[in-house]
Subunit: 355 residues, 4 copies
């Protein structure tokens, strides 16, 4: 039984870790960490857990936690873990960080986009970017996992095969992403009030959202070149779900008949299959079906499909996931499963809930 | 492994049976019955099941199904099962009926409220009303289970202890229930369009809703007298969930000090505890917490609490459940678990999803 | 042109006053008062008014405002106006108070339910309860209007004719009300976040909501006896709208044929017609149509209908209004129109917006 | 008083025409045309109009209507008006067509994208594309107005100034649009059910949506070259509103200092001001404010803002409108006002409703 500690268990991502870990046969939460609700019953903070969790919230003491647990999940604001992580902690237990602190290899890029100083750059190098389907092998032996962001998981995986195999020009990539409001967290802020969000759509963080460099770095690894993308997040009036609609110009390639031209629908489909056919959590839809966030709600699935536009020689790629599951807690547990040699699906084999 | 056939698997309740049974370790769906989607891939009808269900929909042939399966769930319109059920079928497999056909013992009452003739009244007597927490013993040996309605499960269980122990006058009972729109089914009808439901609340079926006699019959058994209630359902702009707010006049009773008077908060609370403390799926909330549908979403829980009004000598009882789970598919599987001697929680031990 | 000052113009009710007054041909807002946004452009606080309102928010200085304006609307927390109102102010301009400070004639009842001391009880007597359709004549000559609450406007007017004419026993009245979230105000509080409200229903303030004594007092005037009701408000996942479903036992009355018995549908309908046929803003629906909040959205209408239950000898009354219009700002302007001798519909003749 | 006939008054766009025309001081609806609800009371089809509209629906007889009215609005499916329009009708009254029949000058393009034969191509030439802010002069003297589509109005006007003045390369234009569900109409179709739309986002009509050629044609006129764009519509869980997020590569231009380079924020802003500063219904937001559909709900405003991305040398343009108002009925009435020499704002001077 894997002993689990959660730092920041009272945010939405933390609560989703709890929901999923309660159904995990090989894991047990022994520390419900919190900053705002210390000594309060966890089930009073999230009443869905009434009679399912009897624990009270404890302080977020990373050092003490490390002595007790096999793995720590940190669902905390940016900079928090970077300020506390130590060799001692990493020598005692695995750390899966849901914040951005160790996602970006170039500390300067991190400090520029996040506007804070990185307090423990010495751990950046060893941290493994926990995009399971891409970095599975490196994850297995890691001590520190940088769990990808919600927008980034969706944005990267939707474009990854086509970028990696050279079917699209990565510098023409435009990502228009729509997110449910749980991505904004549980802080009591006016813009997240029901009446402000309901019946509305808006873009935010236009050209400056912090998930941009994370997307660019990972897609850059895929194609071995520097990548610059346009990324625009939007707030949608729903609780969960991210839909990324991505546009890129197709490269001319060698076609099956030996000529040079734009790739066919079949070539693009085969490229997705090549990378994802054996990936349980990535479902490449068939035919004209477009991904809908509702069809993956509550599950760890990412649904993908695409459409070639012969008029513009662009491809429109679409990906949908649940921002709290594959975009946060689910992928974190998938990482835990890999780290501890379990079947990746353990505790995550939930059918999406519809309606 | 219990072999399961579902008649009407392409309605919302049917799809919820599929979602839950996919996670049930001891059950396997072998027949996805449908009227409208025969020969179509089930996962094309409900895309959440893409790559999880490979089966195609089959005709709703009850007789053939009975030869193949251990249990049949019928999630069908009123009158359907009554027109087809036979001794032969019941001799071959268990039947759990999610329609109203065998819920009401007095066939005249059924025919009056439903406006149709009952085609197989001979089975009404043996049918067991599958309100698990109340009729568990009878369920164990039944062949035919009449799975309770969504409104009724919520309405009855919320008032049941107080009715049974005489704390309230059942004929003063007023039930004001609010339901999510999945209760209206997947039929393409104008009143269920997004734009008609969203941002709106309305009552419907005022004084005439068919769940009324079902509530009255069951509460009548609890207190051994005829019961007549006011029941008003409302349509709320949400997918799932029923909240029943119930009002009744308190009876004067013998108090702990021997005097006669209105029951105290503690007496009412103890009454709920007496019946529900050992019931995993019924959670009597603490203190002033009021049930919210969101806190039970996706789960088989029914959350209950109450408030005494000393000014009116009434008690306000509140109950919340997920209409597709404890109000339909979840309770049906709970019944299946009882019928087959399994732990009632098997396949149903899901924490509610929030947000 | 009536010069208007608004104290608390940056709450939702204040903003609705602005929306409606911008379309009022005989009124002009000259003071946008605010506590939190002084010196900020009003249109930055509510961006729907961009290029429509160029003013900046001013402090809520009641005295100075009184020198400049013909009427002050106070859309402020309870106790605010009671602490500042003076004979001097009332001698200079009309005051229409959207808070509860002068709604309840018995200061003890106010202090008990609101938990605060009333600082200017001397003005309670002269304040006119601004339920336009009931108190029109008294309103005409008032200096101080106590604008009714949102729940109360809906609850009282829906039952008023039947209470007044003795068709129902007011002490059996049970009011189950469902409100959109704008009723909770624009404060940044966790329970009002989108993810906490969306896809959920809950009761709150059970047996203790402050609108209870206001309903009881007004219905008491209607039938000349003390009235005690059960009132339960609920939070619904929508921006606007209140639906009140009200239950009461019918009194036996003299029937048209001279016998004594329960009133007929026609008698009840005629009673509603008697009071509301000439009221533009109250629409008694026909036949079986039930009021829906969406059908009155954005307008000053209250839609009402009823259904007699011959089985329980109760009547179910239903009323729907927009909580920010007829439940707050719209009725306040209707009061202003009466005070200044204008047609009551001036500036309020807006068709509801659907969908 | 302008006499108005509406063909297709029982669709959502038709009902919005009714809502707005009821508040128009110089227009009067004399014919409520309908296909499905002939002889039914209009207020029974749209209960928001109870007691506001007493008329019954009449057949959609265009010829008879033309004898009675000054202007006909056709809110009908594609191909309907093209099959019925005649010189006789146009000689008797103005026609404002909310369908696509006369929007596209090249009949081949129309027939290809819409998949139907055009039955009256002889009127295409004289039809004026009713994008008021662009074609105001031509509208004044037209007999037949092709009222623009909802997506197109938003998409074109948001990019128009930058395309016209050469600041962006129109063939790099990518339009990602999100629409409320009223855009899908009032037909009882499964994909538009509440439970299918709520809590979900999806793209549809990817690369093939019929508004694409309309956008391309109009932007082509602006820059005098053929334009090919990527346009992707999305369905969002809200009633009203379209948000278009548009991406395009900036052209290098002559800068104020005489050098050549990418345009500055100020240059782009001035370009928008040049075209829209005097346009009442187009509001170019200030600073970093991003358009939100909620801030224009119920009104005829289009809110626009933009952000330059110096990393990609792209500009992100954002536009938000109410699809039923500026995207349909509101613009149609704006066209009527121009046609009849009225102030364009007549009957349309409504502040947006928030929340």
């Amino acid at each position: 039984m894997i002993k689990v500690g959660i730092v920041g268990s009272t945010g939405y991502a933390g609560a989703e870790l709890v929901r999923l870990l309660l159904g995990h046969p090989d894991a047990q939460i022994v520390w419900y960490g919190s900053k705002s609700y210390v000594d309060e019953k966890y089930a009073n903070v999230y009443r869905n857990f009434f009679q399912l969790v009897e624990d009270e919230c404890l302080e977020d003491r990373l050092d003490d936690m490390a002595d007790l647990v096999d793995v720590i999940f940190t669902a905390t604001p940016q900079g928090y873990l970077a300020g506390l992580l130590s060799e001692d902690i990493l020598s005692k237990c695995k750390v899966i960080d849901l914040s951005a602190d160790y996602r970006i290899k170039d500390v300067k890029v991190y400090e520029q986009w996040y506007g804070i100083e990185h307090k423990s750059p010495q751990f950046i190098e060893e941290a493994v970017y926990g995009l399971c389907e891409v970095n599975r092998e490196e994850i297995k032996t890691a001590r520190l996992i940088a769990n990808p962001g919600c927008y980034t998981t969706c944005s990267i995986l939707t474009a990854y095969p086509l970028v990696k195999d050279g079917f699209i020009d990565p510098n023409t990539l435009i990502i228009d992403a729509k997110s449910g409001t749980s991505g904004a967290g549980r802080g009591a802020k006016l813009p997240n009030l029901f009446c402000e969000v309901n019946e509305s759509m808006k873009a935010y963080g236009v050209t400056t959202h912090r998930h941009t460099p994370e997307i660019e770095e990972q897609l850059g690894y895929a194609c071995n070149q520097e990548v610059v993308v346009s990324f625009t997040p939007h707030l949608a009036p729903m609780n969960r779900g991210i839909l990324a609609t991505e546009y890129a110009s197709l490269n001319q390639v060698t076609l099956p008949d030996g000529s040079v031209g734009y790739p066919t629908d079949e070539m693009i489909r085969n490229c997705y299959k090549k990378y994802y056919d054996n990936e349980f959590f990535i479902r490449v839809l068939e035919g004209e079906a477009t991904p809908e966030t509702k069809w993956v709600e509550g599950s760890n699935f990412l649904d993908i499909n695409f459409k070639i536009d012969p008029r513009t020689h662009r491809v429109v790629m679409m990906g949908a996931l649940d921002n709290l599951v594959k975009g946060a807690a689910g992928q974190a547990i998938q990482n835990m499963n890999i780290l501890f040699g379990l079947d990746e699906k353990t505790g995550l084999n939930l059918a999406p809930m519809f309606p």
